[in-house]
Amino acid sequence: MTEEESRDIIIENYLHPTNRNKTHEGYQSVNTKNESCIDNINLYIKWNEDKIEDIAFDGEACAVSISSTSIMIKNLIGKSAKEALDYINEFYQMTSGEEYNKDLLKDAVVYDAISKQGNRKVCANLPLKGMERAILEHLK
């Protein structure tokens, strides 16, 4: 994927994010924010036993965080808790500059390059951190 194609996907997901401000009555909720910047996102998850049926979100954050949330939501709906944790780990592998499974991450690979730009890595990881916490809480 070229740099321009990556940017287009990020901007599209920032301007038209998946499930932003969608009703979420009865969903599990978790807040995720970065201490080093002003990103602040609430995630809402609907479970069917250990399967993720739906995810919604609201909050304020930068283009990288919002788009990363949008892409994560698209990629995790329908996955089991374990599959979602595997996805999250692969994402962390990518943003840490390690080997990772491109097929599993699908269009989330757009953050491969961006995570090397200073503290943009924490922006990309932000929704994943919140989701990881929500899944572990759900599995308790």
Binding site: R7, I10, I11, Y14, L15, C37, I38, D39, E60, A61, C62, A63, V64, I66, I114, R120
Partner: protein, 398 residues
């Protein structure tokens, strides 16, 4: 003006985050290096030449600060680590012993966290109330609104002289007059004021003043607590230890030194204080009135160029300082800051530590450009050229 004094400005960088901290001129850095290299002894301790020189330089800064803010007595000048520590000392060392249940402290929603949280703590410990002076449609404080906010229980009014988001200059002299007629104390948070204009504590008649060196071309970790002598005498030291005690034999016989030494426990930031002295000399040489006027001219130039840009929403079109706060339509403030950073322009994005301002302005986060005397019209042209191109901002914000 005076750009040649700042080594960093010879690089391709445009620094517009002066409300967060300012750049340091070479003469200040040289002064501090001179201390570390040539007479790095402790103050108030030794009977040898090096230590004597430290004492002399350290106390000379106190005299320079006294003169700079037009205070009457040297003992009224206490060196702290910065505005935050000064305000905490005022709240915890003085007002904690004075305020009782249901006494009121008046602040506003645009105060910096440092002028909010120490008072919030007294709500918990002393059961006082913190109330807010309403802001007008420009987010200004008017004397009329202060009048309306005062109740028989009001004991303290604590305000920033210039706020760090809106940049308005508060009518402190009139507020002090009004407050003192009703036996109300006035605390002035001068962090954004002292770097940019002449401040005369006697003319304003403030009871306490707090400010930092680092926002006015001085070193980090140095600030000032000013208090009227008769009040400062009753400010209890929060920090006890070396340097500030006269003698101690047992817990019941602890004797402290006179002002200001008893409020300066431990080894202070000596290099910083000495560097701060040089800073004041430097600012005096340029002239505070000249600095203030230049910043206002620069601000007007920027505002006039931003107003025609339809995608820019300016929060504070009117303001008497060098602070311009705005948002770009549909672009998160942090993304605007990232975009400008690609062109070596430093601006601040966020809530600027004024978290409760949101309730008045209705906006959580903004981009802030804060100017100082070394900024230029050409730098503003560069900024405006970039901000004019909305498509470019959106394309390059990541």
């Amino acid at each position: 003006m005076n750009r040649e004094d700042f080594p960093l400005l010879s690089e391709e960088i445009i620094y517009f985050d002066n409300s967060a901290t300012s750049l340091k001129p070479k003469c200040v850095i040289d002064k501090m290096n001179d201390y570390y290299l040539n007479y790095p002894a402790n103050a108030h301790r030794g009977d040898y030449d090096l230590s004597y020189k430290v004492d002399k330089e350290y106390e000379e800064t106190r005299e320079l600060v006294r003169d700079f803010i037009h205070a009457e007595h040297l003992e009224e000048i206490v060196f702290t680590s910065g505005t935050t520590e000064s305000l905490n000392m005022i709240a915890d060392g003085f007002f904690k012993n004075l305020l009782e249940e249901n006494d009121e402290v008046l602040i506003t929603t645009s105060e910096h966290a440092s002028n909010v949280l120490p008072w919030f703590r007294l709500v918990k410990t002393n059961s006082i109330k913190v109330n807010y002076i309403p802001l007008d449609s420009n987010y200004y404080v008017t004397v009329d609104n202060v009048k309306k906010a005062i109740t028989p229980n009001t004991k303290v009014i604590s305000l920033a002289g210039i706020t760090n988001v809106i940049g308005d200059i508060r009518p402190i002299k009139e507020i002090c007059k009004l407050a003192h007629e009703q036996n109300i104390f006035v605390v002035l948070d001068g962090a954004q004021m002292l770097p940019h204009m002449n401040v005369d504590v006697k003319d304003l008649d403030v009871d306490f003043l707090a400010f930092s060196a680092h926002k006015m071309c001085g070193p980090t970790g140095v600030g000032v607590l000013y208090g009227k002598k008769e009040l400062l005498e009753h400010l209890e030291p929060i920090t006890l230890g070396g340097g500030m005690n006269e003698s101690f034999d047992n817990p019941l016989e602890v004797y402290l030194k006179e002002l200001p030494t008893r409020l300066e426990a431990g080894t202070r930031n000596i290099a910083g204080v000495i560097g701060f002295g040089e800073t004041i000399k430097y600012l005096n040489k340029i002239g505070m009135d000249k600095i203030h006027k230049y910043e206002l001219d620069l601000r007007k130039y920027l505002i006039d160029k931003l107003i025609p840009l339809k995608h820019i929403d300016i929060i504070n079109i009117e303001s008497d300082s060098g602070i311009v706060t705005f948002n770009v339509a549909n672009v998160f403030s942090q993304d605007v800051a990232y975009f400008l950073n690609k062109y070596n322009i430093c601006v601040r994005a966020g809530n600027h530590c004024a978290k409760i301002l949101k309730s008045s302005v209705g906006v959580n986060n903004t981009v802030r450009v804060s100017l100082y005397f070394y900024n230029t019209y050409e730098e503003i042209d560069n900024l405006v050229e970039l901000l004019s191109d909305y498509d470019k901002i959106v394309k390059e914000m990541i």
